[in-house]
Amino acid sequence: MIWNKKIECMSRDEMHALQSEKLKKIVAHAYNNSPFYKKRFDEHGVRPEDIHSIDDIVKLPFTVKQDLRDNYPFGMMCVPMTQILRLHASSGTTGKPIVVGYVQKDLDNWSEAVARCLTAYGLGSDDLVQIAYGYGLFTGGLGAHDGVTRIGGTVIPTSSGNTQKQLQLMQDFGATAVACTPSYALYMAEEIRKQGLDINNFKLKVGIFGAEPWTNAMRKELEDKLHIKAYDIYGLTEISGPGVGGECECQNGTHLWEDLYYPEIIDPVTLQPVEHGQKGELVFTTLDKWGMPMIRYRTRDLTYLNYDKCDCGRTAVRMGKILGRSDDMMIIRGVNVFPSQIESILLEFPEYEPYFLIEVDRVNNTDTFDIQVEVKPEFYTDQINELVRLRQRLTSRIQSVVGIQPAIKIVQPGTIERSTGKAKRAIDHRKFE
């Protein structure tokens, strides 16, 4: 099913015209009502009159997360606070939180976006959706909540935590879908197993997973353990919250609702748009958000876009998996290298642990690109040729994906730091002075 066939299946030409009209209006609104945007545009030498179509978006300056921090709490609002109906905030790990504000139209568009996602997952008014995202300043809980209400489904607003109760209600109420982070869903699956519950007594058919990156391996595990179809929901607080995009039944890319949130992919170094289909940093412009519009907001998420019509019938552009963060990028021998690329390649090999350490240095004016990896204990052999072949396969794979040849070093088990997330995955020894 398709929630808004007119928009979701619109021809590229019609979408271009719609986006162009909306961009002109939102740019004028931002310029005329926000001292922040007026100053930024003036410094950049661009005025609303310079924007004639969506293609002119490249004339506009970027907005970054630090701008939201610098204007904490309400400096980015483009309407009087009397019109703001709701505030959300995201704390982040450093510095001040970022705050976003919504007028009625913004809340309507947000729930419209989530409704499109939910319908694409096959959900409708018959469904009972357990929302195990946190309710509160975090956009996850209330964002999903409003979307379920919009499609006429039944909300089970459990919020996050208290897993035992979650599972009991999920079973007793016969929830047909659950919305939470994929890692929490895995935890719930584990609890179901530990408590000796029978998954056949649950009525779940759909998982709505987002708020953190996840892999296809996790998807398979979740689908097998919970007897569901697991779908991605993408979003970020700055742009509105969950529902900026979602997968369809094809599970082949995340459709972005580009009449509301216009996506671009730029090279994070040159800041120029990349060729269609190339990977780079995702940038959003909110085309229909009035309380706090975001003009060319740099997400730091790395991905690529596919404008081919999807088998589901939608023409809405599809985004690939998030490949990593542009903050982590290194330039080695002139090529952009992301640690997350190495991680996803290692995940393709059952023989390797998913841990690694990249070391970059410059010797005789050439960059060295060394990667330490560990072979899983059960894949060690006493035959040196097999290890050499295994190393060669990884070397070739990395070379074909990244574009330059690494020197792979197999190290002893347990050598590489384990704590994921904060672990130092790359060290750059080069000195540029």
């Binding site: 072979v375 204990p377 060690y380 052999t381 006493d382 035959q383 040196i384 040729n385 290890l387 050499v388 070093k409 197999i410 190290v411 002893q412 088990p413 347990g414």
Partner: protein
């Protein structure tokens, strides 16, 4: 005869083999034979210890976070006379067996050289060797 051999993955860095030798030495385990093969940045040490000590040696090395495997290899007692080794190898070749690696050691108290062979077909190679 089939015997068990311990293989330890070693990074090609100074003192790595010494760590293993010291570990075994401190635990009163004697290496009867060993060989190290290496590439530019890693190597594999293959070690033979007394049969009754092999489990302990294996667990000890493993507990110290080394990658260690235990494999069966063919043990050949080769007489100290010209052509003895040639005969054994010809028989293996004739049976289509290829040898991944081999090494030998002698001890003065014995009339034989001791040869360790890692063939691609361990069972067949062992059968041929035992019929020599």
């Amino acid at each position: 005869m089939l015997i068990r051999q311990i293989s330890v993955f070693l990074e090609n860095e100074k003192g790595k083999f010494a760590e293993i030798a010291r570990l075994l030495g401190n635990n009163n385990i004697n290496m009867k034979a060993f060989t190290v093969s290496e590439t530019q940045d890693f190597g594999i040490a293959r070690i033979i210890v007394e049969r009754e000590q092999i489990e302990r040696a294996f667990n000890l090395i493993k507990a110290n976070s080394y990658a260690v495997t235990m494999t069966h290899v063919v043990y050949l007692e080769c007489a100290h006379k010209p052509g003895a080794m040639a005969e054994a190898m010809e028989k293996l070749a004739a049976a289509g067996i290829s040898v991944e690696y081999m090494y030998a050691f002698a001890d003065s108290s014995s009339e034989f050289s001791h040869v360790i062979i890692r063939p691609d077909n361990t069972e067949l190679a062992n059968q041929i060797i035992s019929e020599l």
